[in-house]
């Protein structure tokens, strides 16, 4: 069942894993932006999470603890952003960009001496017998727990944002911070918690790169995944399921173009390499086009100061 040397079952199974870092980071950023905060530091939080998760996993020997460590590191870095933008009311765009540069620098420094070290492997969740089933085996049962976790988080966030009071408050704060304040909600505190959540998700996404995808530490290991996560959030109209579609699309085309390169297709490598970015954005633009209100939170990127 191969198409030009590419097995579709393997392709789907691989894309689900390769999309995990972007999916986790983009889900976190979705919550942050729904609360009205634009944190452009996703790449920085991911790379810090990648390093933090890697070090913790190597030191403790447990990949699960490593993922938690990655989440904690990402959240810790995001709290710098929260402090600057929510307390000192610094500009969110500039602070986010600085956060990315800072995260890349710090991870490069802290990663000295971890090059070439092998992390403890993250095992599959289901027994090999199930994963050996034809077709459904690799796709449904062939993954580590983080893949299932990322899908579960998509569902959870969709439900939380749509149907729960917490989600309603987050959306309200992102929609009009003045109105939320007038009703007595602590705008900056809610935003701070959302930023920390976004940082944790990005950190965990980063940890997945260094612990499961690559798996080792090299400088700048996230290689722009944070930026594509940011783009996916916008083009997915801030909706969790569309974020999943976007992340899988990107992951799928990335895997496909690698396979095509290996299979020796006639298309030049440069075009194949740019394909995931182009096609993902194109498809998401088409999905989100046509409607006037594309769902952007009305207070996105604006700082709130309770002056009255």
């Amino acid at each position: 069942m191969d198409w030009g040397g590419i097995n579709p079952v393997i392709l789907i199974a691989t894309l689900m894993a390769s999309a995990v870092p972007i999916l986790l980071a983009a889900l976190g950023e979705t919550v942050v932006e729904r609360a009205g905060v634009l944190n452009l530091g996703v790449e920085g939080m991911m790379v810090i999470g990648a390093l933090g998760g890697f070090i913790v996993a190597v030191q403790t020997g447990s990949p699960v603890v490593g993922f938690i460590g990655g989440a904690v590191c990402g959240a810790a870095l995001s709290l710098i952003f929260a402090l600057l933008t929510q307390v000192f009311l610094a500009n969110q765009v500039a602070t986010g960009l600085a956060l990315t540069l800072f995260g890349l620098g710090v991870s490069s420094l802290g990663g000295q001496g971890y090059n070439g070290v092998k992390p403890p492997p993250t095992g599959k969740l289901f027994p090999q017998a199930l994963a050996d089933l034809p077709v459904v085996g690799p796709i449904v049962f062939g993954h580590d727990w983080v893949v299932y976790f990322s899908i579960a988080m998509t569902a959870v966030l969709w439900w939380v944002l749509k149907a729960t009071r917490v989600g309603l408050i987050i959306r309200a704060v992102g929609e009009s911070h003045e109105a939320a304040h007038a009703l007595g909600y602590k705008v900056n505190r809610i935003r701070l918690m959302c930023i920390a959540f976004g940082g944790a998700m990005a950190g965990m996404g980063g940890a997945y790169v260094s612990l499961a995808r690559v798996p080792q530490w090299v400088d700048g290991i996230t290689a722009g995944a944070g930026w594509i996560a940011l783009a996916i959030v916008v083009f997915a109209s801030w909706k969790p399921w569309r974020v999943l579609i976007g992340a899988y699309l990107f992951g799928g085309i990335t895997v496909l173009q690698l396979n095509l390169q290996v299979a020796g297709s006639g298309i030049p490598v440069e075009y194949l390499s740019m394909a995931p970015y182009l096609i993902t954005i194109l498809v998401l633009v088409i999905i989100s086009a046509g409607r006037k209100a594309n769902g952007a939170p009305a207070s996105l990127g604006q700082n709130f100061h309770a002056s009255r």
Binding site: A163, R165, L168, I169, R171, A172, E175, S176, E178, A179, A180, A182, L183, G184, Y185, K292, A293, G295, P297, A298
Partner: protein
């Protein structure tokens, strides 16, 4: 009639850096009483009610609710004690639906489906029809207010605070609101009613507390006083009514024909076939409830929105496809409503702001360079002529109070010697004395032969300055009519009546 006391406020003082918002304020409200809190902008009304609602903490003083000490640390506590508030602005979320908006203002909202049913029930009981699943962004101003009122009513309040509730309603809607409020009062809910509209207070309220500069200057029974007496108590001086000097009416200075434009504003209102003319020396007043196309009309007239050339004509010359700068050159200046960010660049000095719109008409550039000396002189002229209270022309626009900045901005447009002047909300948030002087200068410019379009939601203001009167309703403009002889009823009908409201039909 004596009522059992519900809320007593004693010696409340609240100071902000630089201003004392409330100083030793005391009053009390009985159960089922409609109590007015009356005062000008900046008199401390809003700060006072924010303290009762727990948004702001008083520096000193005490409050008692039904005999028990009452000091809410946050609105949630106030709501638990039975105090609810309908805000003037800023408390609805446009991208959320009615039920979600209501849920956000409640302590323990029921499940959405049940809440929707309760919203329907309450809205029918009080004659305020409302569909819980509609987006608030698509509702009219009157309907939005119903959302707020219903949000409060669902919590069974003992005290309902209403902050300037009628500024966004048509006269008919006001009448229906008042019936709802009287019904609530009969049922035992006390209402604290904040306003500066005296006739309303006279017809609705049982008692009134009048604030001036943060202090209580009088307590009275509004029915026993004239509006003028209360106005003078509120302002602290005798009021001057602007006098009109009729200019000779002659040829048409501004003509707009069949102007239809998509709104560029999210949830905005598109203009549909707007036509009118304004002659030299004439003031056209355009009324309408906020959000019926006022902002769009200003954009279309100022040149920020372009149309086909012959849709807008200044002195017979087509300018429909010209931008703001070319229209200024042709003799049309415009003053938008939003002072901070649209009419003025808040962080730039008054001199720089003066240049921004007057540069073209006052010839303030030389060989592409700004003539700063000339610009400063112009800014100083405005400050002197319009009594703008500022340390000097170099302070940032943001540093001026709303009223002072408004005077400066009005002066900037009115002193450019333009043939056509378009103003949206000339006296919004300006105190009575300054408002009177702004209106006077509008009339003076008209007397000198300028054609003026005043867009405003304040009907009294329009009736005072306008020669002819039209209403914007859902992006359509009614045919302008002479102001003389218009009655409030006719105006209300022009404004679209009551937008489907019914009178409360339960006893």
């Amino acid at each position: 009639m004596t009522r059992p006391e519900l809320l007593r406020v004693e010696g409340i003082t609240k100071a902000y850096p630089g201003v004392v918002a409330n100083s030793d304020v005391s009053f009390s409200i009985g159960e089922g009483e409609i109590h007015a809190l009356l005062g000008e902008n900046g008199a401390g009304k809003s700060t006072m009610v924010k303290m009762i609602y727990g948004l702001v903490r008083p520096d000193s003083g005490t409050m008692t609710l039904r005999g028990a000490p009452y000091q809410p640390a946050k609105p949630a506590e106030a709501r638990r004690s039975g105090v609810a508030m309908v805000f003037q602005h800023f408390s609805l979320f446009e991208a959320l639906n009615v039920a979600e908006n209501v849920a956000l203002g409640m302590e323990n909202p029921p499940a959405m489906r049940e809440l929707a049913a309760r919203i329907r029930a309450v809205s029918e009981e009080y004659g305020l029809p409302l569909d819980p699943s509609r987006m608030v962004g698509d509702l009219s101003a009157g309907e939005r207010q119903r959302v707020e009122i219903i949000r409060c009513l669902l919590q069974d309040p003992k005290l309902l605070i209403m902050d300037e509730p009628t500024s966004v309603l048509t006269p008919q809607e006001v009448e229906i609101l008042f019936r709802t409020l009287r019904q609530l009062a009969r049922e035992g809910t006390a209402i604290l009613y904040i306003s500066h509209k005296l006739e309303e207070i006279r017809s609705l309220c049982d008692e009134a507390t009048i604030l001036r500069r943060g202090k209580v200057v009088a307590t009275c029974t509004p029915r026993d006083r004239t509006a003028r007496e209360m106005a003078e108590l509120m302002v602290g001086q005798a009021l001057k009514t602007p006098e009109r000097r009729m200019g000779a009416k002659s040829e048409v200075a501004l003509g707009v024909s069949d102007l239809s434009l998509e709104s560029p504003i999210p949830f905005g209102t598109s203009l549909k076939g707007v036509s009118f003319t304004v002659a030299k020396g004439e003031v056209l007043g355009i009324a309408g409830v906020a959000g019926n196309g006022q902002d769009e009309l200003l954009l279309a007239l100022s040149g920020e929105l372009k149309a086909a050339p012959d849709r807008v004509r200044v002195a017979g010359q087509p300018v429909g496809d010209c931008g703001p700068v070319e229209r200024r050159r042709a003799g049309l200046v415009a003053a938008p409503e939003d002072r901070y960010g649209h009419a003025a660049a808040p962080d730039m000095s008054l001199v720089e702001n003066a240049f921004l719109t007057a540069g073209v008409r006052k010839g303030l550039t030389r060989n592409g360079f700004v003539d700063w000396a000339g610009t400063r002189k112009f800014a100083e002229e405005i400050i002197a002529a319009y009594d703008v209270r500022t340390p000097g022309p170099d302070v940032a626009a943001r540093a001026l109070s709303g009223g002072n900045l408004q005077k400066f901005l009005m002066g900037r447009e009115l002193m450019q010697g333009a043939q056509v002047i378009v103003i949206n909300q000339p006296t919004w948030g300006v105190d009575a004395a300054a408002a009177a002087s702004i209106r006077q200068s509008i009339l003076d410019r008209a007397g000198e032969g300028a054609a003026v379009v005043v867009i405003s939601q304040d009907l009294d203001e329009l009736l005072e300055v306008a020669d002819s009167f039209a209403v914007l309703n859902e992006g359509r403009l009614t045919k302008p009519r002479p102001t003389e002889g218009l009655t409030m009823d006719e105006i209300g009908l022009m404004m679209g009546g009551a937008h489907g409201m019914e009178v409360a039909h339960h006893v």
